[in-house]
Symmetry: none
Subunit: 533 residues, 2 copies
């Protein structure tokens, strides 16, 4: 229910809309669907999917998301009020909102007199008409409507009566909530608190939201102060993505509200997925996670000082403001870089690898060296397991590469032609074959499958699900080191493999070869081992 | 003067001490000197150089810095109170502080009863003795002394009387300031405000400082609230470097205090060097600057939304909380699917592109379609400008590709061999050449340069600075769409270019070709245009 008076704070995520205003942030419609589903699962109340009137990609998202039954999240479409001089029912932008098929529209309108006259070039009275008329029109079409009062805090400072009149126009026309936006992001916590208190007093019964930007590095504080002053809806983005310095970071707002102030936000039991959510969104956005990000960053509970560590051993509360497990994060002690690897070895207990045996030490050394050279095994446990098997129990790959040749040809105005020729030793046989593809890696993948499939029919079940490239040491231009991560599945489970090289083809080959070898681990026992002496 | 009652807020920088507790942060003694000199020049009041009792590198800094006449900054050495049961004058740690030769010592002591009994294993009374005794000893040695009350806010919540008694012990023994530390970084703005107000009332005449950590993403807000409640000294670090989630970020605290609240901090005329200071410290620490960092980040005044840009053209105050020049930063306009024609017009005024002309609309349509297909122009303004020039003023590239062939060969146990053969039309000439590389893209880059350099000597000045690959629609495996971004520079300026294809080589070629074409824009006017009919 909207606007009840319990201390539940509704979480309104705008990662998919305002978040994409951030520099370097761009999501495909499919990316957006993935994120929306994750937010729904976590119990977010509202998911703003985009601005259907502004570009085709956003409209595509609204079409796609309809195919998924969401648990409880309400999808919102964003837009503006009608333009000056145009009746709401004739406004294209508002029509698009209705056409997008959502149940909730969030529209913004001006709350700062200066903006009305300067940016919009219209009268203060006409702006009130636009707000009223737009809200009323969308309500008449059966939508819920949230009204985002743009620049509310600047407007409130300049002309409080007018800023409040804008909110009253929206509320009077039936808006289901009014949201106070610190659009330029420069307001201070006490200003936000005072303004929100005034609005809550002035508009009894109307749910009030807060939408803060981080230009003063105060978005989280401003959001919290607004809630303490009576706001019941919080708008923000995962990891604080957003235009300029970003929006209020929900990964910080939510745990502050839930653990520090005792508000109900998303279900308490889902807060342990917060760290995973943060990293998932960085991954989809292809951004590097911010290590020192509060609550969810890799360094958020990393202790370096000797005094801190020794005190922590006595009592974790001594140097931690919160138990890291509560948000799905973990404590790290930076002195022992090897602890992560020990954990990995623990995972592969069935290989009976002893950390203190010569083999164990050697594998650890090798792993450390590989990580130093840019390998990363967290998302590539397939490659890791193959390496451990080679080291400790004489595992041999189901095939060895003899040679490989890739040829790419491009002529003006024609599509590029990609061909791979490979010669593999598979058990006793030597297989020499070739295939085309729509790119070099795809050609290589096709040739490898062709070479293996007569001997290992299971290859047909293996699907490459994901292919990722990251350029390491970016400043080296086209000579840089490249890491390729591949995710493969057989319909039952999935595994990741990794390759690193200055040559993207070589890195891709390493990851591809591992992906197949790992997928054939079981079948290999049934065939190759039998045919060998 | 310490503790006068004017609204001057003293800035105490601990980048060189607490900042180095951050993961991945490490400074040599020389690095520290470089930073200290810069801080002095900017007018910072106090520079905490290290903990002479804890490691030799810190002692080295105090030796080195003596050789430089600082303008006005006071260098501080950090340490702890004496240990339980040890008289201050016999404590090695305190002796080191005196030996370091500084005029100001900052020592921390426990203000949380739980810590006294749990971490320190002593009595509450003995802890008060340690504080009193240590401050008095350092004062007797002619030093100014600041007392850092560790965990003050947690202590104040748990046992306010004891927390205040600790401060009184320090003040009574002659401490020149008491500094309230939110050591675990989890306090909330209103808690900080209430506690500081209480301390200021309780200790009239004693200067009060604030030392906040960012574990709740609230360090800047907590610092500001403390100042508003009467604190007159602010401790923090440049860029918020520091243990776990970092310390209060002085690059945000200072402009908030100076521009938003009108306090005197460092001299007003030096605030224009804030952005430079931030980047300088990142550079020395060998860390990547945080693009969306408030005030000083590269994206801090970067505008992406079309509505924002069209309003900015009328009046910059419409979407900026502060003029970027005040902190030495600058406004940027980003291109993307979210931006309308306004952004384009604003950026490329000199191309005389008319928003209402058929060409103007066509370019915008083309741009939107390309972005829908995965192109991204905010980091690729070189490609964008070339596209606009083609559309509006008959620009022709300095070369056209006739054909290209790439051959990669790999044999077991041997490094992969990469060769590119290209045939280009350059003006009237047909150039056919080949080159090797350590990867396919590098080979292509080398061949392209070889083909161009005899005709365009400027090619030798162009450097590829960065190469990025992003797999779009990741779930399509090796058939996925790939976007390549390249950054190129000529020593004076840099530009980005983009390519998109299912074939990584084709995408790389597009971005490479654009990077050279853009770099040759000027030279082309001088040569090709002249040689052509």
């Amino acid at each position: 229910m909207l606007g009840d008076l319990t201390p539940t704070i509704k979480i309104y995520d705008t990662t998919l809309r305002d978040g994409t205003q951030g520099e370097g942030v761009s999501f495909s419609a499919e990316d957006k669907v993935k994120i929306a589903l994750r937010l729904d699962e976590m119990g977010f109340h509202y998911i703003e999917g985009g601005w259907p009137g502004s570009n085709p990609k956003d409209m595509e998202f609204f079409e796609l998301i309809k195919q998924y039954p969401l648990k409880q999240a309400v999808v919102a479409a964003f837009g503006s009020t009608c333009r000056p001089g145009v009746p709401a029912h004739q406004d294209t932008n508002l029509k698009r909102l209705v056409e997008s098929g959502v149940k909730l529209a969030t529209i913004f309108g001006k709350a700062w007199d200066f903006h009305v006259t300067k940016a919009l070039n219209t009268t203060l009275e006409e702006n009130l008409r636009m707000v009223r008329d737009s809200v009323a029109y969308l309500k008449s079409q059966g939508l819920k409507v949230f009204f985002d009062a743009e620049h509310f805090f600047d407007g409130f400072k300049a002309n409080p009566d007018y800023a409040l009149a804008v909110l009253q126009a929206a509320a009077g026309a039936g808006a289901d909530a009014v949201v106070l936006c610190d659009t330029n992001g420069g307001s201070l916590p006490f200003e936000v608190q005072q303004a929100v208190s005034r609005v809550v007093r002035q508009l009894p019964g109307v749910p009030v939201g807060i939408h803060a930007h981080n230009d003063g590095e105060l978005a989280v504080a401003n959001t919290i102060m607004a809630v303490q002053a009576g706001a019941t809806q919080v708008q923000g983005t995962v990891n604080g993505l957003g235009e300029r310095c970003g929006n209020a970071n929900l990964c910080s707002v939510i745990p502050n509200l839930a653990f520090k102030l005792g508000y109900q936000t998303i279900p308490r039991e889902n807060l342990v997925y917060l760290t995973e959510l943060s990293r998932f969104v960085y991954e989809v956005a292809n951004l590097n996670p911010v290590a020192n990000q509060p609550f969810v960053g890799e360094s958020a509970f990393a202790h370096k000082g000797g005094i801190h560590v020794s005190a922590l051993m006595k009592e974790t509360g001594t140097y931690e403001h919160l138990a890291p497990e509560l948000v799905g994060n973990q404590r790290r002690v930076l002195m022992s870089e090897l602890s992560g690897l020990s954990n990995l070895l623990y995972k592969y207990k069935e290989l009976h690898l002893d950390k203190n045996s010569p083999e164990g030490r050697q594998v650890l050394e090798q792993l450390k060296n590989m990580e130093h050279r840019g390998y990363q095994f967290e998302a590539a446990e397939g490659s890791l397991e193959l390496m451990l098997r080679k080291a400790v129990n004489g595992y041999r790959e189901p095939f060895q590469l003899e040679s490989m040749r890739l040829i790419l040809e491009m002529r003006e105005q024609q599509p590029i032609y990609s061909e791979a020729v490979i010669k593999l030793r598979v058990g006793e046989e030597l297989v020499h074959t070739a295939a085309e593809g729509n790119g070099p890696v795809n050609a290589l993948d096709n040739a490898l499958r062709k070479a293996l499939e007569t001997i290992y029919p299971r290859v047909a079940d293996l699907r490459l699900l994901d292919y990722k490239v990251r350029v390491l040491e970016e400043k080296a231009g086209t000579e840089a080191l490249v890491r390729v991560l591949i995710e493969t599945g057989d319909g039952k489970k999935t595994w990741g493999t990794v390759g690193v090289s200055t040559n993207i083809i070589e890195a891709s080959w390493q990851a591809l070869a591992d992906s197949m070898a790992y997928g054939l681990l079981e079948e290999q026992k049934l065939t190759v081992t039998n045919t060998k002496k």
